[in-house]
Amino acid sequence: MEYEAVIGLEVHAQLLTRSKLFCGCSTTFGRPPNTQVCPVCLGMPGVLPVINEKAVEYAIRMALATDCRINHRSVFARKNYFYPDLPKGYQISQYDEPLAEAGHIDTETPDGRTKRVGITRIHIEEDAGKLLHGEGDDEASSLVDFNRAGMPLIEIVSEPHISSPEEAVSYLKALRDILLYLEICDGNMQEGSLRCDANVSVRPKGTKEFGTKTEVKNMNSFKFLKDALTYEIARQIGLMEGGERVVQETRLFEPSTGRTRSMRTKEEAHDYRYFPEPDLLPLVLEDEEIEAIGVMLPELPAQKKTRFMEEYGLPSYDAGILTSSKRLADFYEECVGLFNEPKTVSNWIMSELLRLLKEHNISMEESPVGAERFTALLKLLKGGRISGKIAKEVLEEMFATGKDAEAIIEEKGLSQISDESELLQVVDRIIADNPENVERYRAGKTKLLGFFVGEVMKATRGKANPQLVNRLLKERLG
């Protein structure tokens, strides 16, 4: 029998506010344990939460960017459970009246189709602290770091519209792109700024009813998401084919084995005893407030891609890559502004610049070659000062030394030779040195032209103008 997977993702994104969700503590990552805490985020007796307006604004941005309906009144609720990293013994979240509902994100399927994945809800909540095991005086004890306690999060819950691990990755990438474009989350999955849980079930293909689902946790990279879902889907199909039932449970992905293992069953699930948070008033949002945030929304990845295709005449593939990050898209547009050959700029960014960034293992922000220098190089290429091959070499040199193209060309004498008489001398010498090949060429083996061009290029260390070399060789070889 053929099966299909039904997947929904719950994504937690940490918001890039300067202070925590309910107190003034800093949100800087990686500080020594318990240095970014105060009575409020430590849950000391008598303290009260005050909502960070910036976090609300960021959450609204995400809701608008995913076409959600924003509730004019949403309610904070307490999710009660005991854990040492949870200072108050409850997490302030939103429950039956979330900030926003019923949105969607358009993603691309592996076969290039656009698929719309529904967003069930987006709500605001606070993060918990972190347990450090075996770092205390005795190995058996655990320590708690509350720096993360009270960090602002939004949870974005999708509809079960995702049908494969590849689609899940594509959805999460699209979601992450939006967060980055909105500049409300750094999207760093390793540091946990972006976390993802999945609800997974399988059913015989074509049937409507949902199978029993499991919740898979701990997938902190796109690869792990794909691996975990692939494993979990196969596991569930295996169970069904073997005549067994899928048990409703929470499962943990283990990157070392590539498997998921049972964490707790439905019977062991917590009863969170949600109730409205009496320390906070309902969050009431006026239309004007929401509109004001909407007006400030930047162009989103999908919109930008379409515009790049229309405005610059780029193929979908190019536009997709160039808009995959806001920084890259901005760089591209800056370059086109300086050198109006959109396709050339796109080619050079995609084939050369991105490769070099990858080789040097640096991000766009850290690139030593800015738009000004990058386009200066392309202008030299276009003006015939250097050949394409030399341009590639020069770009590498620019990366390595941080110098501009002109300086490198001067220093290394890389200017293209376009002087006909100078090149003729070389051409004639090559012809004289290879009488046999000349004869074969003249006998009709015209493919040998490439050989002669190569020899000329070698002799000029690649500086010869290729078009000119071609013409001169053809003339001389008759």
């Binding site: 000391m44 007796p45 303290v47 005050v50 005991f82 040492p84 200072p87 005893r273 949600y274 009496p278």
Partner: protein, 493 residues
């Protein structure tokens, strides 16, 4: 009369006029505490040195006429539910053993800012859960009028200390009557302001949607003066109201001619102590004599008040008290059995029986499958009760009721019977559920000499009307002038 027995506003004049220094006054109260508190046990902590230091600072302010308020130099005590920076704060519980807050509650900040002298921290029922102060983890406080009886609760220490002149006035908290009921049982004045008028920041939470701080004093005027100084919007408390704070004292003109006083039929029930009924009846005649008009009103959902209260309050409490887990501060009992074991041992030894009972009740009513029938339903009835009051206040300006159905009961009398204990709050609870202000003033004594209290309830944010009528009543009667016979506490009786 001993200087410590003067009212706050009288002392303020003496302090301002240089007739007495804050240091001398503070020392006088410390002497009173030394003399009687060994038996009365109103204080958990006496802040002797800090108080004298603050008194000296207040004297400087008074001398240099720098930002003087009616509380400058005044020895004030706090229910031990308010966080005080550098001073141990117990909330009447063992679970906070060793805990010293690193910050002041907003109320404390404001009192200090006004120049008040914080003389100590007062006994209370553990986490404000109780009506007799017998649920204190440390010791019961006695009633100054009869050491065999309770002072009421949960702010029992606060009421007893004011009544026996161990401080000028105190700040208590009221979740279901915890300021008004002990004030009534100790023969002093207790004011619970509108929910949100006084900041809850730093006040240890029992039931967040009901808790409210307010003054306990020996006269209405002192309550009015204190309220002006502690009330007002606090950005640290999201539920604090953006409402104007009045010079309440300026409205105490004794003129209540034409004021309409509502008498709710539902409050004059079976089980109401005959002497309470009699005293309240006489009070109505006093008020009518002052030109007020008494009208009958109805609060039809009153019968649900106790049930609704014990669902809402316990639910919120079960969550509010989850933070006491032995991980971060206070008591930790760890016998090496792992995390769950530490939680269980800590909470088992740290909490008293009543607190555990309420945590269990609240946990139950919030549980899956019960939430709709209990917490949700209670919240809905609460809305109906609010509407009852809104309706009633179309007919009258204030509502008059007894504060407590009985005078002070004997120590131990109701300890084994929580339900009867819960009924001590039957007349005070609705006010918290509706969020409206209420005040209790002395209105007589039983034949045995136990004080009785009269309660006025007001419209949302209409503290002025209840203070005005309470003050007019007080002016027309002598009850508030009587002082408890301290001889018994001094071992003379």
């Amino acid at each position: 009369m001993d200087v410590v027995e003067l009212n706050g506003w009288e002392l303020a004049e003496k302090l301002k006029g240089g007739e007495i220094t804050s240091r001398a006054l503070t020392e006088a109260y410390l002497e009173r505490i030394d003399a009687i508190d060994g038996r009365l046990r109103a204080y958990i902590t006496v802040c002797r040195e800090e108080a004298l230091r603050q008194a000296d600072e207040a004297d400087r302010r008074l001398r240099e006429k720098e930002g003087i308020t009616p509380l400058t130099g005044m020895p004030v005590a706090l229910k031990d539910i308010f966080s005080t920076k550098g001073i141990k704060t117990t909330c009447g519980s063992r679970i906070l053993e060793g805990y010293i807050p690193p910050f002041d509650a907003t109320v404390v900040e404001r009192l200090k800012g006004a120049g008040a002298v914080i003389i100590g921290k007062l006994n209370m029922d553990e986490f404000a859960m109780g009506s007799s102060t017998e649920n204190s983890a440390f010791f019961p406080t006695l009633n100054p009028w009869d050491p065999g009886r309770v002072p009421g609760g949960s702010s029992g220490g606060s009421a007893a200390a004011v009544s026996s002149a161990e401080c000028v006035l105190s700040i208590g908290t009221d979740t279901g009557g915890s300021i008004r009921q002990p004030a009534a049982l100790c023969g002093v004045v207790g004011l619970k302001p509108t929910y949100g008028l006084v900041s809850r920041y730093g006040m240890i939470a029992f039931a967040s949607s009901l808790d409210q701080a307010g003054p306990i004093a020996r006269c209405v005027r002192d309550c009015a003066i204190t309220l002006t100084l502690i009330a007002g919007r606090d950005p640290k408390d999201s539920t604090s109201l953006h409402a104007p704070v009045h010079e309440y004292e300026s409205h105490l003109d004794g003129n209540i001619k034409g004021m309409k006083i509502g008498i709710p039929e539902e409050y004059f029930i079976e089980g109401l102590h005959p002497e309470v009924e009699k005293a309240v009846g006489e009070s109505i005649r006093v008020l009518e004599g002052l030109g007020a008009e008494c009208v009958e009103v109805s609060l039809p959902h009153t019968e649900y008040a106790v049930s609704v209260y014990y669902l809402v309050a316990t639910s919120e409490a079960s969550s509010n008290l989850a933070r006491y887990d032995g991980v971060k501060y206070g008591l930790r009992v760890d016998e090496g059995g792992g995390l769950l074991d530490m939680y269980k041992l800590t909470r088992d030894r740290g909490f008293g029986a009543e607190v555990k009972r309420r945590i269990m009740l609240g946990t139950y009513s919030l549980s899956a499958g019960y939430y709709e029938a209990y917490y949700r339903k209670a919240s809905q009835v609460r809305t109906l009760m609010k509407r009852d009051f809104e309706e009633a206040f179309r007919m009258c300006d204030v509502i008059l009721t007894p504060t407590s159905p009985t005078p002070a009961f004997r120590l131990g009398e109701r300890l084994s019977d929580p339900l009867t204990m819960y009924l001590s709050d039957i007349f005070t609870i609705s006010c918290n559920l509706a969020g409206i202000p209420g005040i209790s003033v002395p209105c007589g004594f039983t034949e045995e000499g136990l004080p009785l209290g009269l309660q006025f309830l007001g419209r949302f944010l209409d503290e002025i009307s209840i203070l005005k009528v309470a003050h007019a009543y007080e002016e027309a009667t002598e009850w508030h002038k009587k002082r408890p016979p301290l001889g018994k506490l001094l071992g003379e009786g």
